[in-house]
């Protein structure tokens, strides 16, 4: 790889940390406006660099290596891109940009701390997906996780303590179990380090016995599954997203949550294919609970933010279904789905927060008729809903299509049950649009409807960024699938099924 790739990839990951340190060092000297400007600059720099790095990687076409390493920067952890990490890095950078821009429109107490935490989280997210070393992936993941917890306690809404506590316990436990799994892989294979390529090489020369694969994969599946809210370890997710400050919720639900899936796709399944094959039916059944059971639960929600949060839990089931097939098509579909869902859920969390702030009302039954006052907001909300529902031209559709297509060869019955997700998401998604924006304002809202303003400038830019990338990926899914295809084909684990 050339130097521009080295520079851009390192910048994408380390710039947010560097800018966070700058804000911390200049703490006394700058005001909150300046801190916000620095954060915005940082997200912009990180976004542009990530875009350049991913484009550099994409340009290689079928010459792509499995892992394209960038030169190490001093003593910092080495970074590399792969067919899965490139879209994830771009997702992280995009959602970070949108979350930061959205934060500019808010009036935040203790804003300097807020932006420092936001930047650390962004750096952690970009690093988690691009680190060449499995242990460092884990460390970066913690860098992203801890700010969420702190931010929730400081800026969260009602019920934040309980939610933060639950999230911390769940995710720490999940991460811990998967860490044990990672160490077990290292111990069993006798790899020369935690480097991704070293472990891959060790597995080839000395495959893990089926006995160990079975148990280690179970640890990784449930450990990482907890991070992705796999049934029944999902209860932390809805309340976290409803309580956390929106920018952090966007980053968590949109990006950080995909880390578990990312690790399964790039690490656990390729290293432990027999273990995955043993567990794949269990995984598929649990994922169906995510789709159907959570689908019903989502339909019953009246709180708009909880509705969006539950729906994100449901959609993770779709990704797990793709993983269960252990095929290039299914896992590739899961990658598109992760990308599309990350953008759409971030968009929906942001928009639902805007709706709640504008109306001072969380109950959708008590809203109505907003579209006359907020036509642009309504337009974005419908776009976000349609992306979640899986309308073509948005990335999510291709993910669902690929997953369901590969699922038929896995099991037609599971495919049919999984496809009910299409109906569930339409029911709750359109119900929300109808109750919030259509009809006439009800109750309290009808009195102060005239004071409600449409989406503001910063909010509009943030939403536009997310929608634009959603549509870009929705019209050119090849941008995601091409690198993914190259990587997945090179793992023997994904070439057994159809």
């Amino acid at each position: 790889m050339d130097t521009s790739f080295d520079i851009t990839l390192n910048t994408a990951v380390y710039a947010p940390f560097a800018f966070a340190i700058i804000i911390a060092v200049l703490w006394k000297a700058i005001g909150s406006k300046t801190a916000a400007a620095i954060a915005a600059l940082s997200s912009g720099v990180s976004f542009v660099s990530a875009l350049a790095a991913c484009w550099g990687f994409y340009k290689l076409g079928s010459n792509m290596a499995m892992f394209a390493p960038a030169e190490q920067l001093y003593m910092l952890p080495q970074l590399c891109l792969s067919g899965v990490s490139a879209p994830m890095l771009f997702l992280a950078a995009t959602v970070s940009l949108a979350a930061t821009i959205y934060s500019l429109s808010l009036d935040i107490k203790n804003a300097k701390l807020y932006f420092v935490l936001l930047l650390v989280m962004q750096g952690g997210l970009c690093g988690a997906f691009t680190s060449a070393n499995v242990l460092w992936m884990y460390m970066f993941h913690e860098f992203a996780l801890v700010p969420t917890f702190i931010a929730m306690v400081i800026w969260g809404s009602a019920g934040k303590r309980m939610a933060a506590m639950q999230m911390a316990i769940y995710l720490t436990l999940g991460a811990l179990v998967s860490l044990v799994g990672i160490i077990a892989v290292y111990a069993v294979t006798g790899a020369a380090g935690f480097n991704m390529e070293a472990i891959s090489a060790a597995v080839v020369s000395k495959p893990v016995s089926q006995y160990w694969q079975y148990y280690i994969f179970a640890m990784l599946m449930f450990g990482l599954g907890t991070l992705v809210s796999l049934f029944p370890f999902y209860t932390w997710a809805p309340r976290t997203y409803a309580c956390a400050p929106t920018a952090f919720a966007m980053l968590h639900a949109g990006v950080l949550k995909k880390f578990g899936l990312f690790m399964l796709i790039q690490f656990a399944i390729p290293v432990l294919p027999l273990g995955c094959a043993d567990w794949s039916h269990t995984m598929a059944v649990l994922a169906l609970f995510n789709v159907i059971y959570i689908g019903f639960v989502t339909m019953a929600q009246r709180d708009v933010k909880l509705m969006v949060s539950y729906s994100s839990v449901g959609h993770m089931g779709m990704c797990f279904l793709g993983l269960a097939t252990m095929s290039v098509l299914g896992v590739g579909g899961a990658i598109i789905m992760m990308f599309g869902h990350g953008l759409s859920v971030a968009l929906m969390l942001m928009l639902s927060n805007i709706v709640v702030n504008r109306t001072n009302q969380w109950d959708m039954m008590k809203m109505g008729g907003l579209y006359k006052r907020t036509p642009v907001l309504a337009g974005f909300f419908i776009a976000g809903t349609m992306a979640t529902v899986g309308l073509p031209m948005f990335a999510n559709f291709w993910g669902e299509l690929a997953i369901l297509t590969s699922l038929w060869s896995f099991s037609p019955a599971i495919c049919a049950l999984g496809a009910t997700g299409l109906i569930f998401s339409a029911v709750y998604g359109l119900r929300a649009v109808a109750r919030i924006f259509m009809g006439v304002p009800s109750g309290e809202l009808s009195k102060n409807i005239s004071s409600i303003a449409d989406i503001s400038g910063a909010e509009r830019v943030a939403a536009s960024v997310l929608v634009a990338v959603l549509i870009l990926a929705g019209t050119c899914p090849g941008l995601i699938t091409k690198p993914a295809d190259v990587l997945l084909k090179s793992f023997p684990a994904y070439n057994q099924g159809k």
Partner: protein, 635 residues
């Protein structure tokens, strides 16, 4: 043939420009959208009159590939496409022009015309799709357009519920449709129409009934047939041009188009065709009855659309060309009728009750004459377009019934004859009450003829309602054979060649000459019945007055809505609330998660108590430990 791409790009571009820049414009959006529709029509006509109009064209472009799976974005053009593309672009353009007049006082014109352009893009996409996956993509997009345009008057309760209902009911159908497509891909490794055709033409046994039935779900949703018909009558909450374009002439006919395409390549087995035939014949009959229980002019027409879609569906079951023939003529006369309804509603300040109209003939002569032509066409008066297509379907049903003697065709024929009798009855009821007699409301008294934007498309459409079928049956070719009747010859060849073949089959059927008279008599009987019952145009429904129980049965249209409402409110929502409260909050959240937290806390408290740090307890613990070690060593 590369200009086929323009048919997709122009309306898409227009929609994008309007959404991004012209949302609040007064007229620019309308002009841009109409211009793109006009350009599309010009492109379509130039293709249809071009040298390669009768050829088959196929292009393909890989959108993405994962493993063995490649998603192809392809265009496919053959004689079936040629037929549909003329209908979509032609009717589409006229309705765009009409909309300029109809939506003149609407504040959200930008949104409306963006939706119309996006619809034209998606609908053309369905027509040009070269494989089932691609068709599904556009299938979903037209569903979205339908949703967005039904919700145009989003502040009304009806529009809000109807738009949601339309999308969700269609999703239920698409669920089966998608599974069918995936099943097809898993079985044959392709969903490309040409490749499937070569498989089925060499090995007809490879067609699967189950696969066909799954695909059928998509048709039942989009074309609103049993048991997914409930959304169409509610969809009338949208602006009338939308009802005309999407919910009468083109989108709902997309299901028929898709089934014709598949039946043509041998995808559908005899069993699937039998199911389609019987379901759709039943719909043709029932919807005709239900139309008699409605007072809203648009709802009457909506049920009439259901009935005619049923008739097209029966055409699929009898022979694919019949369905396309009726689809084409229906697009002309039903679009005319909806636009007439829109013209009247516009003139009567959004009064839609037919019993509050009356005497329109004197006040809106052009609209009324157009309406008369379209009405004669729909009730199948000889020489009018509707007569040819409807009689072709009836005659084939009759011929199949008399030649095979199977109960299936007998039943279908009986149902279709009843449907043919009902059409003049409900259309007569509408026509007499709206146009004749005296006005029954102030709005109707003040009605005056609509402007040129509305009347010119109406007149053109009425010409097609009269003569739209001539090109298919008579071989009236002109302009070096490039035109056949009123349509480009390329657009008539699919149906024309089918009809020529079919005619020989029909004429061999015993008693065919009697049938021809029966068909005419049924129509006349229907007209006579309508005159007798509804001819007085007295400002109320005589059936409602004299036989309220019967009227209620008609009005309830089979209690399907009540059944589904009951399911949603009493079953689905209760399951959802039960799971959300009991299973989610109580069992998992409270009992399991918090419960394990409480267990941990209690154990922790207990252990803490044991360690009170006194010398006494420390000695006790030490002794207990020593004992334990000894036990472990020696045991």
């Amino acid at each position: 043939m590369q200009s086929l791409n323009l048919l997709l790009l122009l309306p898409l571009l227009s929609a994008a420009i309007i959404v991004l820049f012209l949302r609040r414009s007064k007229w620019l959006g309308a002009i841009l959208s109409t211009a793109s529709a006009a350009a599309c029509f010009a492109v379509a006509v130039s293709i249809l009159l071009g040298d390669s109009a009768n050829s088959v064209f196929k292009s393909s472009l890989a959108l993405f590939a994962l493993g063995d799976f490649t998603f192809n974005v392809g265009l496919f053009y053959d004689s079936l496409t040629a037929n549909m593309i003329f209908v979509v672009c032609g009717v589409g353009l006229l309705i765009h022009v009409y909309s300029i007049g109809y939506m003149d006082d609407d504040p959200a014109k930008g949104r409306f015309f963006a939706g119309m352009s996006f619809f034209m893009f998606s609908m053309t996409g369905i027509v040009l799709a070269s494989n089932l996956f691609m068709m599904f993509v556009y299938w979903e997009l037209v569903g979205f357009c339908s949703y967005a345009l039904i919700a145009h008057y989003a502040d009304t309760e009806v529009a809000r519920e109807a738009s949601k209902k339309a999308f969700i009911v269609n999703r239920v159908g698409d669920f089966g449709f998608l599974l069918g497509i995936i099943f097809c891909y898993a079985t044959f490794g392709t969903t490309d129409f040409c490749e499937l055709a070569s498989i089925f033409w060499s090995f007809p046994d490879k067609a699967s009934t189950f696969m066909g039935l799954l695909i059928l779900c998509g048709f039942l949703g989009k074309s609103a047939q049993f048991p997914l018909q409930v959304w169409l009558s509610d969809a009338m909450a949208g602006p009338t041009p939308v009802s005309a374009l999407i919910h009468a002439a083109t989108m709902v006919a997309a299901g028929v188009f898709m089934m014709t395409r598949l039946s043509h390549i041998g995808f559908l087995t005899g069993e699937v065709l039998a199911v389609v035939l019987i379901l759709c014949s039943l719909m043709a009959f029932c919807a005709g009855l239900w139309a008699l229980g409605q007072n809203d002019i648009k709802k009457i027409l909506a049920y009439s659309t259901l009935a005619h879609l049923g008739m097209m569906g029966a055409g699929i079951g009898l022979g694919a060309g019949l369905a396309m023939f009726h689809l084409t003529t229906h697009a002309f006369f039903k679009a005319t009728l909806f636009l007439v309804a829109g013209s009247i509603i516009h003139a009567c300040h959004h009064q839609q009750d037919i019993f509050k109209m009356g005497g329109i003939f004197k006040r809106m002569p052009v609209t009324s004459i157009v309406a008369l032509v379209a009405t004669l066409s729909i009730i199948a008066v000889p020489f009018f377009a509707g007569n040819y297509s409807k009689e072709a379907i009836l005659a084939t049903a009759f011929a199949k019934a008399s030649q095979t003697g199977s109960a299936l065709y007998d039943t279908a024929f009986a149902l279709l004859i009843c449907a043919a009798f009902l059409t003049p009855v409900y259309m007569g009821r509408l026509f007499f009450n709206v146009f004749l007699g005296r006005p029954h409301s102030k709005e109707a008294e003040e009605a005056s003829e609509s402007g040129l934007f509305m009347t010119v498309p109406l007149v053109i459409l009425s010409v097609y309602s009269l003569g739209g079928a001539w090109g298919f049956v008579g071989g009236f070719s002109w302009l070096d054979g490039k035109f056949s009747g009123l349509l480009p010859a390329a657009s008539t060849s699919f149906v024309g060649s089918f009809l020529a073949e079919n005619a020989q089959y029909i004429h061999k059927a015993a008693g065919y000459d009697v049938f021809e008279w029966v068909a005419l008599l049924v129509t006349l009987a229907g007209i006579a019945f309508a005159c007798l019952v509804y001819g007085r145009a007295g400002g109320s429904d005589p059936v409602e007055g004299k036989m309220p129980a019967l009227y209620k049965v008609l009005n309830k249209h089979g209690w399907f809505d009540d059944l589904y409402d009951w399911y949603v409110a009493k079953v689905q929502q209760r399951i959802a609330i039960f799971l959300a409260t009991f299973a989610d909050l109580f069992f998992i959240e409270l009992l399991c998660v918090r419960g394990s937290g409480i267990v941990g806390a209690v154990v922790g408290q207990g252990v803490k108590k044991l360690h009170d740090c006194s010398a006494n307890s420390q000695v006790k613990w030490m002794v207990a430990g020593v004992v334990l070690v000894f036990v472990l060593i020696f045991a």
